[in-house]
Amino acid sequence: MAFEKTLTQNVGNPDALTVAGYKKNGGYTALEAALKMEPDAITQAVKDSGLRGRGGAGFPAGMKWSFIPKIDKPKYLVCNADESEPGTFKDRLLMEYDPHQLIEGCAICCRAVGANTTYIYIRGEYTKAARILEAAIHEAYQAGILGDSVMGSGWKLDMYVHMGAGAYICGEETGMLESLEGKRGQPRVKPPFPAVVGAFGCPTVINNVETLCNVPHIINRGAAWFKGIGTDERNTGPKLYAVSGHVERPGTYELPLGVSFDELLEVCGGMYKGGTLKAFIPGGASAPILKASESHLKMDFDTLAKAGSMLGSAAVIVMDETTCMVRAASRLAKFFAHESCGQCTPCREGTNWMEIILHRIESGHGHPNDADLLYSVSKNVGGNSLCALGDAAIGPVRSLVEKFRDEIEQHISEHACPVPHRRYFAAA
């Protein structure tokens, strides 16, 4: 599929790590233009583009920016670079290969909402990306792109990298704010929303890395260009799909938002070793599992929501016929049980029970009514918790019961896993 790359145009171009190299490809011209625009006009352009958040929830970015009150208080941008959703690795690519694109996107956002400080909250394991970002920020300060007078405009902007310390829940926006403030990363009750009471009690925008990386291109090429890419006016722009699992060429692929799974699979060189597709997860561990028969679906926000799943972080995990679905769901359930912050009883207890029940089914000790039990536990977790982790945790479990019930029942009646565990490497 021929598609002009925008977000990943600098991947493989080490020059882009420096200010001079980044400028060669038109870098920092969008910031220069934005500095001459009315701040509200920047927000309007982002609204007009239809850009929706790339972090998971798909909230319209321009609308989020417009919620920032015009009051005399410090305002903050917190860039969400926590990227801990299993299957997701696209933001790391953007930060390691094109740090200035992110710096420019952050700066334009700050200009639009009147913020003078950006914190880039990056997961503690991403030490390489953090080093690269810090070096790029340092150079941007020296070049007068950041600091007391951004590109000579007299407008001040500071930017800092803030390292997390290993907790998925800190990717949730209010968990992230707590963590930024040096606390346990337990999500806050909303409202108030971060746009009004965010970091340090002040109005705060929280956007994902990829969301912000789109912004310079919207300013440079216009909202109409952005809207011209994608499925329809609610699903616009270029999109990074992070594909892993049983495909020949796993990797990050930039394609128009709304490419179908079948097309995406073709771009990835097809199934690993010529296997047969059994199931796929379209949007990271939180997204309900889809069956092979749903592979024609367009991978955009609305199509996947209508199909009962979600685009989420667009982390696509592909599974072939050698995969035991109970084992796969069980691994994801273990993840959510480990990462629940423990504040809400339904989430804390429910994620543990789902892990326990799935584990016993997989190991051949399932009880006859375990499929129904799983379903009822999931019903008590979903919608009864403070943040979206609770809802996310039931995604894989419910879709397993709905779509692969036979496989659960077979585990239980045969008192064993019916799918032999595949060996990937020759015995030593």
């Binding site: 394991e125 030490t127 800092y160 992070a242 912050c341």
Partner: protein, 172 residues
């Protein structure tokens, strides 16, 4: 948030480790980035851990608390929340083998088996020579190069059991 007199007293009773001057300076510099002292806590704990063999003993936690003028209990509560802070000794090299779904789908369990065989200890146990400890870990954001592991700060990708063993044998 500053410590009350009572809390400060309890700080004084605890044995305090001495943070090296360079670490103190680093923390002071980072402190300037935030409107509150507590916001510097996560970075300060990373710095402290780096300076004390990769883990946070109670006297080290107390020293960080004193440095930022925070109650020790607050700092302790933060330390226990995050996976990258350790409350007991770890190997000189910390090996994290990802076995979340994408890595599992490409053979992560076989990498973990190889680690077990190579190091002769269970998960989270330190080898007799103090060289290594390994654990399984959640997704490290490198699923396209699965199976993979992280050793200290570095990613090792597209592993086979042999290449993983080779890498571990090369650790000092």
């Amino acid at each position: 948030m500053s410590a009350t007199a009572e809390q400060t007293a309890s700080v004084a009773e605890l044995a305090l480790a001495t943070l090296p001057d360079a670490a103190k300076a680093e923390i002071a510099e980072i402190r300037k980035r935030y409107p509150t002292a507590q916001a510097a806590l996560l970075p300060a704990l990373h710095i402290a851990q780096r300076n004390f063999d990769g883990w946070l003993a109670e006297p080290v936690i107390a020293a960080v608390a004193a440095e930022l003028d925070l109650p020790v209990s607050t700092v302790y509560g933060v330390v226990t929340f995050y996976d990258l802070y350790h409350l007991k000794p770890v190997g000189r090299h910390r090996i994290r083998v990802c076995n979340n779904l994408s890595c599992q789908l490409r053979g992560a369990e076989e990498i973990l088996e190889a680690m077990r065989a190579e190091l002769g200890v269970g998960e989270d146990e330190v080898t007799d020579d103090g060289r290594c400890s390994y654990i399984h870990f959640e997704c490290l954001g490198s699923c396209d190069t699965a199976p993979m592991m992280m050793i200290d700060d570095d990613y090792h990708e597209n592993l086979t059991p042999e290449s993983a063993r080779e890498i571990v044998r090369g650790l000092k």
